[in-house]
Amino acid sequence: MSDRSAMSDRSHLRLVVLGVLIVSLVATLSARLFYLQLVVGDEYAAQAASNTTREVVTPAVRGLILDQRGRPLVANRTSLVVSVDSAVLAREDDDGDAVLGRLAEALGVARSTIEQKLMPCGSEGAPPLPVCWDGSPYQPVPVAKDVDTETALTIMERRADFPGVTAQLEAVREYPGPFDANLAHVLGYVGPVTQEKIDAQGGSTDPARLRARDLVGRNGLEAQYDGELRGIPGITTLAVDQVGRVTGTVAESEAVAGNFVVTTVDAHLQSVVEAAIADSVERAREAGEIADTGAAVVIDVSNGAVLAMASYPTYDPQLWVGGISTRDYERLLADRALSSTVTQGTYAPGSTFKAVTTVAAAREGYDLNGTYPCPADYQVGSQLFRNFESSGFGPITLARALEVSCNTVFYRIADEIWLKGGGLFAPVGAPDPIAETAASFRLGEQTGIDLPNEAAGLVSGRDEKLLVWEQRRETWCADAKEGFSDLRKENLTLALYYTALAKENCLDGFRWRNGDAINASIGQGDTSITPLQLAMTYAAIANGGTVYQPQVAKAVLSSRGEVVQEFSAVVRSTVAAPEGTFDFLRTALATVTTEGTGRVPFEGFPLDQIPIASKTGSAQVFSDNSTTAWFASFAPADDPKYAVVMMVTRGGTGSVTVGPAVRTIYDAIFGVVDGVVIPEQSVFIGGAPSQTLPMVRPDGTPVVPDGPLAQRPTSVSSTIRGPSP
């Protein structure tokens, strides 16, 4: 230890300092290690996962939509689609201006057409939704479909002239249109998935999840059954190293083609119904009516299946393939062609509602076989309620009242029921039998049909009026106070009238007056329903009071033909009514066709073999002083199978405008030719809707029955052969 003293304390101290320094270095490393691996480790693990694998997605073939016999209503074909990647364009010196110019020229379209499709929805100057781009902002936007091969090759070969522009074969929807059936509103259309929908999935790793560039159903059956139709894309997960070299296959899954949706619609009947509604509109317009929209629907009364459904005007679903243009979209919007009149339009049902009032009367104890006075008008206080379609008939039976559509008979009944229910000062919750009966037919709520965006409609009644008053009282009271000062200078009388009206509404607008009840009894006032709701109501009357949920899809089949799901009839409610009520209605409504307002259109129809129950309606629309022409019916009246409802807005009377068109539908259903029933001539193969499901061959092609299967003229691109979609 002789050297020990030689070593200075300073040396020792400095060694200790070194030791402390080393301890702090070790502590630093440990803390950092702890943070990286145990605090934020998950984040890095996720990064490592995305670092080392790449997914190759093989899109699944979207399922077909078939009619009840297996005829394809929606199929697939390949099309050359030109897409533009906005992100690449933005990197050009002139923001891609020159590229767009060249592209427009090559495609032979106006450059504004391309520019509008590229605009993200909600950006300044962007066109409305279906035209503007609401797909993922990171994805190329399709700007032209069915491009001819030559143009596509030009674009792909002159890469320098067209940066960010691609042309490739893509699977697009095709509408074979058997029997020229259009069915646009029922089928819907597909469009690019929105970024919100992708985001909403969170970090899902489900192979069936939505990816940018995916097409999804945006309306109609395409949207309703999107999950079934879409299928599962094939995913090949490749392991890659740091320079992107594929080092192996981690996982592989085959694409599963989307399922087929078999509808209850019969394409042949559908084409007849579409022609019939067009015919109604035509006839109304020839008679000087505006006849802007129309609807027709055929229901199987035994299960609520929709056999045909048409809205007028309609559009060519092909317009949506590869993105709709602004011009097309604006035209469709102006024509009101985009919404389905059958399920989304609500209208006053007019006299067709009397069938419901009749059931209410029966439930209130009125003798259905009794005699009731039918004067020309009915006095309530200072107001005079007139017959619209008839003058006075004297004392008549209730059946006769339906036959000639005598309003005053129903006015009296409604007035009496109103008084019995408590009259003007009825307490809240007092009985309101007509509204209650309408509710038991499930009017005023969605029918639950398997199509999106259905309207609910409204049933006028005591509760409904209170509800409206609660919502609008403040406006009314404010108006009464303000007194329509603007209008005063121009038209003092009208201003005073409006003020008085507003004051009355403000004070006791919640009161359900007998005038309201009288209007409601004949389907006027606030009551508004969809054509589909009326069809389901008449189907319920026909089948003895069972209200079914209308159904468009009959079954879901796999692409190899196995039954995935079969939809059975759904009963929504059963309308309670005294014994014989529905028999009475069936007989009474049949006489409407033989002797009443439905007689003229069915002249020469073999009603003795096929009795048809019907009710016409010409509902007044006070806002534009027009009438909605209705024709509600079912047949055969003695053994009901089908309910047919057709209507034309601003269309004149039901009997004149719509009746003849409904007759052509019955002709087609029962095979009536020149007044003779020839069952083989029925549009239904075998004379009735199919009871079985169509067959699909193992290769995915449906077995289609013999007979005319009209194909639309094929487009240029469908001749291009490419990889099967």
């Binding site: 230890m1 050297d3 070194l18 070790v26």
Partner: protein, 389 residues
């Protein structure tokens, strides 16, 4: 240094009368065990990291070479630990001269540039050695001799001795700096500062060296002496998300690998970053990412713990040394291993600049492995000597 079986050494080994029993008894077993576990344990991670590097060839090529390197390194350590103290002192100038020549050889056609640093000598048969690793040993030995000279009379080294020591250290450091091997320069500088400090030199020397070193680094930076790629490597840890440069890419991938390891790791051969070769040179400089990814926090923490045990034992040897020479050798070795481990693990964890320094006892690479074990041999030598006296 690669020819330890010189006649002089063989004679000395033979001449030693110390029994085998007493040699084993005097060894610091903690130190040896920690280093042995690190080296042998590291081989599975070297294997995992390098398996796919020679796809189609022998996947165990690097593993086998690593094991051979460890075996050679153990023999070197054994020899160094048994060298006589006086001989070590006497031959220090020779080792020093050999190291300088080795570094200079890099500039001859034998030299090779790897990863931007011209710091390698290409030997026949595909072998490369890095003379700067051995230069660290030479610096420690020569500085210990100079700074511990004439210590009987004075309490602290004379300024002349310190100046001489710094002058001797500056030659190899300057040469290595010319090779763009900034990592090694940093380690060498820490060794020098540590040894000067522990020698008991006046405080002005220590502060002067610290201030001078930092100033030199800043000035070099400002004057653009440091080439762009060096700056990129040094600063990539500040902005790792900016994957523009390769260095930033390295830092980012290393952190993804370690971060993804979690508590228990992905399992041997199961680390996606390792197996996909996302982290460069992950069998040598970035071996810690392999441990972190495949053995998780547990494996990485054990590695740090073993290194800490090693440094703790080294520290004990330095503190317990009976004479300044031994203490200086031990503290030089401790500083070397400590700062090199910190620099290496720190760059793996993204808190230190990326410089090409290997992790002692762990990284693949013959020169580094030999140098690490020679350093261990020196520590054992000091320990044996201190127990003899």
């Amino acid at each position: 240094m690669s020819a330890p079986e010189s006649a002089a050494q063989r004679r000395f080994l033979g001449a030693r009368q110390t029994g085998r029993q007493s040699y084993l008894h005097r060894l610091d077993w903690w130190l040896l065990a920690a280093a042995l576990i690190l080296s042998v344990g590291s081989s599975v991670f070297v294997w995992s990291a390098s398996r796919s590097d020679l796809a189609g060839d022998d996947p165990q090529y690097f593993l086998n070479r690593h094991l051979v390197n460890i075996a050679i390194a153990l023999i070197l350590a054994f020899i160094v630990s048994r060298l006589d103290y006086r001989l070590l002192r006497a031959y220090a100038p020779i080792f020093y001269a050999l190291a300088i020549i080795g570094i200079l050889l890099v500039y001859t056609p034998l030299g090779a540039t790897i990863a931007g640093a011209r710091a390698w000598i290409q030997l026949p048969g595909g072998f490369t050695i890095q003379p700067s690793e051995f230069a660290k040993v030479a610096i420690i030995l020569i500085l210990a001799v100079v700074l511990a000279e004439k210590r009987d009379a004075e309490a602290e080294p004379r300024d002349r001795d310190v100046a001489l020591a710094l002058g001797l250290a500056a030659i190899p450091i300057g040469l290595v700096l010319l090779q763009n091997d900034t990592g090694t320069v940093f380690i060498m500088c820490t060794i020098v500062v540590t040894m000067v400090a522990v020698s008991g030199a006046r405080t002005r020397w220590v502060t002067g060296l610290l201030v001078g070193g930092i100033t030199a680094a800043v000035v070099a930076w400002q004057l653009g002496f440091v080439k762009d790629y060096q700056i990129a490597r040094l600063t990539s840890f500040v902005n790792p998300e900016e994957v523009a440069s390769t260095a930033a890419y390295n830092a980012n991938q290393a952190r993804i690998a370690i971060g993804g390891g979690g508590l228990w790791g992905r399992g041997l051969f199961e680390g996606p970053q390792t197996q996909g070769n996302f982290v460069p040179v992950n069998e040598s400089d970035f071996i810690f990412t392999v441990i972190g990814e495949e053995a998780g926090f547990v494996g990485a923490a054990i590695t740090i713990l073993l290194l800490s045990i090693l440094l703790w034992r080294g520290m004990r040897i330095a503190l317990g040394a009976t004479e300044l020479y031994g203490r200086l050798v031990a503290s030089g070795v401790v500083a070397w291993l400590a700062f090199q481990s910190f620099e290496n693990i720190g760059m793996n964890l993204g808190i230190m600049p990326i410089t090409g320094v290997p992790l002692p006892f762990v990284s693949y690479g013959g020169t580094s492995m030999f140098a690490s074990w020679i350093a261990l041999g020196l520590l054992e030598n000091v320990r044996i000597h201190q127990q003899q006296s």
